[in-house]
Point group: C2
Chain length 377, copies 2
């Protein structure tokens, strides 16, 4: 444990400072320790309330900070401070990034490419199974699955990732000594074995309701994007989605029957522009090329052979000979006029037109202006 840690754990406990106040000080002084060493005048010049400046100048909370660091070690946690090299870079970008992270498990997992899967604590059977499946499929492709260890969708997502022998991260709304809900204690242990269980709250913080929306910014902050699986009208998951947008992260949603209350949230998000997800590819497709390159085996991710290629092959296999002939007449690098396709495929005009429609519907080809067609990459 670094010697500066007690200062960090102390600073976040100063009453009336808040996370924004903390960041003002860190921006000015560079570290918690430096803030504790500063003069009263200098502290006050940072724009924190006089009462708070006086508290820091009076070394407030330092004892508790030291005790907390000690207790963390005893509880088998590491504490990562904001200036730590291991502090996850993506999380650091958000304006109200936590100053300390308590981590049980593998700290390095927090810096790997991750996607959050969140949703209601009371999912339908459909929601649970979709969360499990999607987490499984994404974890299998080396994406870390971040969620909140809650009942329902969160638990299903963590379990799906574990089952795929992938990495998963649980972000708590309580301190590390207070796993909530209790029934998930064993799940938390499982997660910490290969991934990480983390919290920004002091070790013994209870799971009070106001902690969860605060916690949600870390779930989205650690992730390239957030997938909402099921969420009712008034739902923390919708807040997580909103935070993700504010953090410039992707927002994804799994649609569901409009007659299901739990699908209100995702369907609503899709109306507002979230990307509809019905399989793992839909998520990875949205990520920048350099991310995809690292996530996918080289053959799949290499230039000119994008994400979709795997499906193309599947589709190709399922095509009728006629559709195949039309598809094969098309080229990925040059648009062909419909008459040339008819000639090249040796298929009759109406059948070529029907085949082109279906191929386009299946996302295999694209129509360009003037009845020109090209294979999709």
């Amino acid at each position: 444990m670094s010697e500066s840690l007690p200062f960090w754990t102390a600073l976040v406990r100063i009453e009336g400072l808040g996370i924004r106040g903390c960041h003002k000080l860190i921006e000015h002084f560079g570290s918690a320790q430096a803030a504790y060493m500063a003069s009263l005048t200098e502290l006050e010049s940072c724009g924190v309330p006089a009462r708070v400046a006086q508290a820091i100048f009076g070394q407030a909370c330092l004892k508790e900070g030291e005790k907390e660091v000690q207790a963390a070690t005893e509880a088998g946690c590491r504490i990562i401070a904001f200036d730590d090299e291991e502090y996850p870079a993506l999380l650091k970008q958000i304006p109200d990034a936590p100053l300390v992270l308590y981590v049980r498990g593998d700290v390095t997992v927090l810096s790997q490419f991750a996607v959050a899967i969140v949703g209601t604590r009371r999912p339908s059977a459909y929601g649970s199974s979709v969360a499990h499946r999607l987490a499984h499929d994404l974890a299998q492709r080396q994406l870390t699955v971040v969620s909140g260890l809650a009942r329902g969708v969160d638990s299903a997502a963590h379990r799906g990732a574990l089952e795929a022998k992938g990495k998963t991260v649980a972000v708590l709304g309580s301190g590390m000594n207070v796993i909530y809900p209790r029934e998930n204690k064993r799940l938390a242990d499982e997660i910490a074995k290969s991934g990480a269980v983390i919290s920004e709250f002091p070790l013994d913080t209870g799971p009070t309701p106001e902690n969860f929306p605060i916690r949600n910014r870390i779930i989205s902050g650690l992730s390239l994007g957030v997938v909402v699986v099921e969420a009712a009208e008034y739902s923390g998951s919708l807040i997580t989605a909103r935070l993700a947008l504010e953090q410039n992260r992707e927002v994804f949603a799994v649609p569901g029957n409009i007659t299901s209350a739990q699908s209100f949230g995702p369907n609503h998000l899709i109306k507002q522009g979230a990307k509809l997800v019905d399989q793992w590819m839909d998520v990875i497709e949205e990520f920048p090329a350099e991310v995809r390159m690292q996530l996918l085996p080289p053959a799949e991710a290499s230039e000119g052979k994008p994400i979709g290629s795997e499906t193309v092959t599947l589709f190709e296999a399922s095509l009728t000979p006629e559709h195949k002939a039309v598809f094969e007449a098309l080229r990925p690098d040059q648009a062909l006029f419909v008459d040339d396709i008819i000639q090249a495929s040796q298929v009759s005009q109406p059948r070529v037109l029907a085949a082109l429609l279906e191929l386009e519907m299946n996302g295999l080809i694209r129509q360009l202006p003037g009845k020109n067609f090209i294979r999709k990459l």
Copy 2:
């Protein structure tokens, strides 16, 4: 019946001419009768095959055309020709508009604002009930519901509209003397009582598979937009959606569980940009103001009180007093800074922030840059 009708019914029967060829002639001569009166040279100059020009010059199919007009009268149908005043204006816009429409029922219904509801012949219980409900709700708002009289989603849509005492139009893929599927004969009779059953095919044309994709362009052509309720991967409904796009009509889709094969189509369309629909308002919202004005009672459609108003009132009623205070602090005509909202609402900062989030999630307010908020119209 107009004297020119036999020429129209004759022209569409000329072998090798096709609908595009018909339109070439109509563009040149103005009417079918004029084409039949033209010289061979003039006919050939229109770019139709010599064989076809000779046939028309030889008055081919005129006898059949006359018989067909007679038979239509006996069958209780009217025939509307392309140059008829009653020919629906929206349908006339499409490049391959039919030259004749056989109509049983009320011809004027074809010129009213309409939306198509289409989908699989083998819907889930969910699909049937959603199609029925949506058709009911839209028909209740004076929108005519167009569909294809097929089993499944089509039938549910027609029935929903009828139950709302609204108008509905069935576009057949067969001739008017061949109602298909037979079990829908009574439904067709019901539809014709207040709406219309129509076809472009000669009276005794059988329901051969190739007719249905051709028929689909009329379903979308009569409509401001097409709603796809359930559709499997290879589905005529997806073709209708595609035709709607080509005709510059709106495409809507009702999402469904990604584990349901029947929801593949709509979910896929949404991915490609179709608008997600979970209630009738989502459809009407997309239409131009002048359409909405005519569909909705004046109070709902008037300037400054748009479509959403009804829901706003509903939502307002369900708000907590705190959320209501925050909502009421906001104005529809001017953005307020968050601090001013806190002051105006007399609610504490964290609760105001939470309320703003929820109000925004519910689509009641909008956040503008710099933490400014405004009521949504």
